[in-house]
Symmetry: C2
Subunit: 359 residues, 2 copies
């Protein structure tokens, strides 16, 4: 069976303001010291198991230019342009229907975020290969879980059965999907050793996910099926633009995974990082002996445990600790490390004040 | 007797980097919300007691253009351009000699820094008038002291006799001048109530200070007298340029005030601030209800007790406390409030690296 991949790249990446902007969100930026962007890395690490012509990108129409420019190896017809965001369920359902239309039948389908970091790429492809072998038989929905290392309250969790199953080491049946917990609950999940983080990476056959869509989200199923009918014709773009926004906005986690049976999870141990805030930059890059990560023209005096991403000017940091500084041509962020979630409040402020050029 | 004033304006103002630069030091900047620069304010507040044509500016030759531009009311021949800094003793001795040359004899001479802030200008001129009346008789050196409010270790101190003297309320004989103390000593000075801060403002007759120079600093006296001989001729500029650098570099505090007798002090209570570091900016401007002083395009989220001086770009401060941010076109400073003295280390670093354009 043909193996395809769907990379979801519609996010706005607001938590990386001011480096990420509405016009260039996080997945189209490099947040590491090398020059490849997050989405370029995502495609590259898939190449051992998926050919470029079988990789699909679902992104916002705003990013058509960025996607084409950064991913010249992906065929133009594989870049599906959403006129608006409708969360992951419509995105995945449409992609599955498009793939069936393009290949004239079912295919294996990897569903992957575009803006995560994977440190050990060989282990990653090994895990995906095993997930494929689980998903090939029957109608199994497979999700890649991540072993939690601390009680994160910003992720959904996957509760799994204690013993591995299907006669395969490292494959567990999922008991349930749960949404972002509060801190106490997250701590109990960690203590129980029965929960994994939900990484948002899924493996299934197009036929399997479409059956699940038909059962649990019929409106999404019918709507995306109708849109996909026109795939490959001159009508597709217009139909997508007209009908996609009519679909309900819902996540595949809530719409399918929390309801379906026959869900399996493989705990991934490939150095995953969701690169969820500026705090990630020091995790994914190396810090110096004072605990600082600096890039650009930076002088630090008595400064520790700080992340300083300079722009075109000199940045001098004197006597500061646990701070994040991000400099760009038109906006500068200075943020305490324990308040990175509040960067969104800056964005809200800019929206209220109609300062679109800074968003 | 003619009253003249000498404004010392040769300082580099490195503690206000990156706003102050070698080419535009602090005295030629406005650090308050209005547009007048420090030196313009200094001249303006003197006008009730000194005419503009009797005000002299001693500054570095680098600042000839700035001084002429910002102080059009001061005659060009009153702007004395030092080819290099030699501290306050040669500066004051030369100015005294130049004044005697220009007026053909002694004059009253106010010696004032160019970069301090005075909140109550009427009280200031009242104090100067009283100082003049003290200095008129005999050979008295008069200094304006400031009542300390905390044990500052960055200033010199003046110890004064307990009872007022000369039959004048608020005039005290000086027991001794002392250099910058350590913290314990500064605390004991404060507790004793016998010490004032040395503000660097002096009042005396040109004849009095020149006699003191002749006695305690004969080399400075002879050297500056020789230079002043050419004042008013085409030779002056060349002589100054050739001979000024040969003078020893010394302060009037160490060279004269710590050695002379017949020194009187008047405690000034006119809202003095030496504007000695970025910390002064929140003192001299008003802060908002969160204790922040902001200027320019600034968004603060959960930020308190901070000074944020924006430049041409948006500055967003999130969750920071007790921090100073100063943005300019080519350099940005982020400094903890308790480390403002270390801004000098940034300058040292820039000097070592030959980055003159940023100094």
């Amino acid at each position: 069976m043909k193996t395809t991949a769907v990379i979801m790249a519609g996010g706005k990446g607001e938590r990386f303001w001011p480096r990420s902007r509405t016009k260039t969100p996080k997945q189209f930026l490099s947040l590491t010291s090398d020059r490849e962007t997050m989405i370029q890395k995502t495609v590259k690490r898939l190449l051992p198991i998926v050919s470029p012509e079988d990789i699909f990108i679902v992104t916002n129409v705003l990013y058509a230019g960025l996607a084409a420019e950064q991913l010249p190896e992906i065929p133009a017809e594989n870049i599906i342009l959403e006129p608006c965001g409708r969360n992951t369920a419509p995105c995945i359902s449409l992609a599955a229907a498009v793939i069936e239309k393009k290949y004239g039948g079912e295919a294996m389908m990897l569903v992957l975020p575009s803006d995560h970091l994977i440190r050990y790429e060989d282990m990653y492809t090994d895990t995906l290969r095993q997930a494929i072998s689980v998903a090939e038989t029957g109608d199994r929905l497979v999700t890649i879980g991540i072993t939690p290392t601390y009680p994160e309250t910003g992720y959904g969790y996957i509760q799994f059965e204690r013993d591995s199953t299907l006669g395969m080491h490292g494959v567990y049946q999922v008991s349930r999907f749960v949404e972002k917990p509060d801190l106490e609950t997250a701590k109990s999940y960690l203590a129980s050793r029965r929960y994994l983080w939900n990484s948002g990476m899924f493996v299934w056959k197009t036929s399997t996910i479409l059956k699940a869509m038909e059962k649990f989200m019929p409106e999404v199923y019918e709507g995306t099926k109708a849109i996909a009918e026109s795939y490959g014709t001159d009508e597709f773009k217009a139909v997508l633009e007209r009908d996609y926004e009519k679909l309900p906005s819902e996540s595949v986690d809530f719409g399918i995974m929390e309801k379906a049976d026959e869900i399996y999870t493989l705990p991934g141990s490939f150095g995953w990082d969701d690169v969820g805030s500026w705090l990630a930059v020091e995790r994914i890059n190396s810090t110096n002996e004072l605990g600082n990560y600096v890039e650009g023209d930076v002088i630090t005096i008595g400064t520790e445990h700080s992340t300083i991403c300079g722009g075109k000017r000199l940045v001098a940091a004197v006597g500061v600790d646990n701070i994040i500084v991000v400099d760009t041509d038109d906006a500068l962020l200075i943020c305490s490390k324990d308040k990175t979630q509040d960067v969104k409040k800056v964005i809200e402020n800019l929206k209220i004040c109609n300062r679109a050029s800074l968003l």
